[in-house]
Symmetry: C2
Subunit: 259 residues, 2 copies
Amino acid sequence: MTGGGTPDGTGAARSVLGRALSVLGAFTDASPELALADIVTLTGLPPATAHRIVAELVAWGALERVGRGRYRIGLRLWRIGALAPAARTLREAALAPMQDLAAVTGHVVHLVVLDGFRALFVERLPGREDLTVRSRVGRDMPLHASGPGKVLLAHAPTAFVEQVITRGLPRLASGTITDPGTLRAALAEIRRTGHCLSREEMTEGASSIAAPVVGADGTVVAALGVVVPASAALPPYVPAVMVAAATASRNLGARPPSR
Amino acid sequence: MTGGGTPDGTGAARSVLGRALSVLGAFTDASPELALADIVTLTGLPPATAHRIVAELVAWGALERVGRGRYRIGLRLWRIGALAPAARTLREAALAPMQDLAAVTGHVVHLVVLDGFRALFVERLPGREDLTVRSRVGRDMPLHASGPGKVLLAHAPTAFVEQVITRGLPRLASGTITDPGTLRAALAEIRRTGHCLSREEMTEGASSIAAPVVGADGTVVAALGVVVPASAALPPYVPAVMVAAATASRNLGARPPSR
């Protein structure tokens, strides 16, 4: 489907759309607002081309012009993006139990899905003492170095897990699992117990408790987790997290857990 | 910026991008999943062109292929859409007080912004008895027929309000304000009191209490509201809604209210 130019001259069409998508792709969590010069640098497009594409994206509502020749993602693109199942079906199923979990624990609650070889935050509810958790909706993190990430990995195909291991298990904090054998054992334990405890694997001073969210077809579609201070005892949080994840799963149409 | 074809042949380029955007625009809240035939019908594009554009959007991650030749919005477009300020800055500033308001009242809480001549839900937290409120993030509603909508209208320029009135004030429920003079008086009252009470204006059996969220520059950027059963007394909710909206405003960098 992504083949090269075609004999009927559609190569040119593909290229124009590709250039427009590269303009949208230049906007990231680290640079949500860009000047035209930034867009030219990031996309490698000629300035006149970049200007023309930006103008059309603004006219349509995919981009908004801020002051002084700067641009950001527009409300119309947000509305269309909000139609993605992760934002719509999954988030709607998980939001009420996430709210309850945040209210009961007072800590940050995350909903995380697999996105390529990364774990992507699709929802985040703030805790009462929101000091150390710098997560944000739309941001991603490594799969091996957090509770929700390991839950997703534990329910991924073995070949995928081995690819993640081959790509490297960098240390992010004192508790990060960097040894392949230790990671494989941890994933087996997650499958056995139905939850994951993670102690200072991503951020120093923060630990997490996570459990899988299961879709109507019985596959794991997301992980739901709470972030607590590293000084806290983690096991008391396990039943609450598992109940919240089970509620989200049931809201998605999954059958109640049999364990 | 949205002018026609240019002498250097960019008219063709503009048209290709326009066609791709029309494919994205075919996905709506009412039809979040489309077959290629639907896309052809909705966009008026030739099937071969639609197929080529869809293939490129899938390859990039703007669309995802579901089973049996159906498509939906992809995770990559959701991630980029989530960079829009309404989803990012505003939502992050408002989420904690919205959570508190939902927890204290037990009712559905909304965050709403102006989008053209409509009020757009950018966030929605479920209540404990979530029976009658069919709102959804990304969905819109008329400005004149709800608490948050009237709050946004009350702080819009007079000329804009008159345009809304000229476009018509259709009745949606028994309490909808359909008379221009009554609406103008209601908006003046909202500006005077700093909040809005709305009784069965959008949905029979549901009332709402709403207040403005103010940005760092002192302008109203959103409305925050709670939906309660029509049988409830509304005034007791007013201080809680105003506190939540003021907290969101302060989080955005607004100065504390002086009233």
